[in-house]
């Protein structure tokens, strides 16, 4: 489970993030008759043939594997929407486009299990890979900008899997920067005579959400 192998990393494995992603709701079109499922997490159903219902992804994949339903591709996974998102990602080098939090995991699960339900599967797949690459590259270029004065880094619209990949590295890097910066502050205070230096000292505990 998270962090057992190396407690200093406290990382989720990719499979665990996928497990968390399976709680997302998707639309399915069942082809069976079934009464309402009363589960702890909620009630789903009743399932009538050709009547679309909304179920969690894990349930949708389970039904699909048994051939009891077809999964409707989510709105954001249409080729037009993905092309738009890709263009927007390429055009804005500093911002990440809003995408569903678990888009990587959802898309992988759907591609693996519901190939025939997604129109233009290969196109969508390659678009998602491209989007992922562009976002990751943006993150890397942003990495080079963090410096010793960064206390907090705000990354909007980063998805779960991307966060999970960069988490151990990023946390360690920020720790290393903080460690190297603190004796610096002491030295500044010791040989500084102007009040400007002490003002720099005061900036320390303030929460600054702008990435410098």
């Amino acid at each position: 489970m998270a962090g057992q192998s190396d407690p200093s990393l406290s990382m989720f494995s990719a499979a665990e993030v996928e497990f968390l992603a399976e709680d997302e709701m998707v639309e399915i079109v069942p082809n069976l008759n079934m009464d309402t499922l009363n589960l702890i997490c909620g009630d789903f159903g009743p399932f009538r043939p050709q009547m679309a219902t909304s179920v969690p992804l894990w349930l949708a994949v389970a039904l699909k594997k048994r051939g009891k339903c077809t999964i409707r591709s989510p709105q954001w996974m249409s080729v037009e929407n993905l092309t738009q998102v890709l263009e927007a990602e390429r055009d804005s080098p500093a911002q990440f486009q809003p995408l569903p939090f678990h888009y990587v995991e959802i898309s992988r699960l759907l591609f693996d299990n519901a190939r025939d339900d997604i129109p233009d599967m290969y196109m969508a797949r390659s678009l998602i890979e491209d989007i992922r690459d562009v976002r990751f590259h943006k993150f890397e270029t942003g990495l080079e900008k963090i410096s010793s004065s960064t206390h907090v880094v705000k990354l909007k619209n980063l998805s779960a899997m991307e966060v999970n990949i960069v988490r151990p590295f990023f946390v360690r890097a920020l720790q290393a920067f903080a460690k190297h910066d603190s004796p610096q502050m002491i030295h500044h205070q010791q040989d500084a005579m102007s009040s400007r230096q002490t003002h720099v000292q005061d900036d320390g505990p303030r929460r600054d959400l702008r990435r410098r």
């Binding site: 990719a14 410096s147 960069v166 151990p168 590295f169 290393a176 920067f177």
Partner: protein
């Protein structure tokens, strides 16, 4: 105190640095290879490991010099091009040692020097750690200190974990004992 059991900390403290004895010391002639009798004279220059130098400094018996890895030559090289300097051959615990030694020597510029070095190396090397192809990686790996190596490995392992997951495959791992055929004992 939390670093007492840290193995990296222990190994790091074994790095040598030159000290000047402020007082004479009896019975420790081993420390100074040029001592004829079994004592160290006042004012003699001896190479001691850091943990010993630290303790003697606290007892005000020695004054500590700058360790060889922070001398002018290294500083010039780092200012020229930080990313290409082979810090591991000089001192695999470059940053840690610098942080510990700084209060001992009274050299205020070590902190900013370390920060400068780390920032530049980080920009060049470590921000590409995630996507480093296998062929590119070994080129600069031997240059990294222990701490940088840890950062790099953290990035690598999370990336490979993700790639392995992406390829897909069954989520269940069959226990190896199930694969063995049952031998019927008739």
């Amino acid at each position: 105190m939390s670093r007492y059991f840290d193995i990296d900390d222990i190994i790091m403290e074994d790095e040598h640095s030159a000290v000047f004895f402020k007082v004479g010391a009896n019975g420790v002639g081993l420390l100074d290879p040029s001592a004829e009798t079994n004592r160290v004279e006042q004012g003699s220059r001896v190479e001691l490991p850091f943990w010993l130098a630290n303790e003697l400094y606290l007892r005000q018996a020695v004054s500590v010099n700058v360790p060889p890895c922070f001398n002018l030559k290294t500083r010039r090289e780092i200012q020229a091009d930080a990313a290409c300097v082979d810090l591991r051959s000089r001192c695999p615990y470059f940053y840690e040692l610098g942080c510990k030694v700084a209060p001992l020597i009274g050299d205020k510029t070590i902190g900013s020097f370390l920060l400068y070095a780390f920032m530049n190396r980080f920009k060049d090397i470590l921000s590409k750690a995630h996507s480093a192809a296998f062929a590119v990686a070994p080129r600069f790996l031997p240059l990294l200190t222990k701490e940088e190596m840890q950062l790099y490995e953290a990035a690598c392992s999370s990336m490979t974990g993700f790639k392995k997951w992406r390829v897909g495959g069954s989520r269940f791992e069959k226990a190896s004992i199930l694969g063995k055929k049952k031998r019927s004992s008739e």
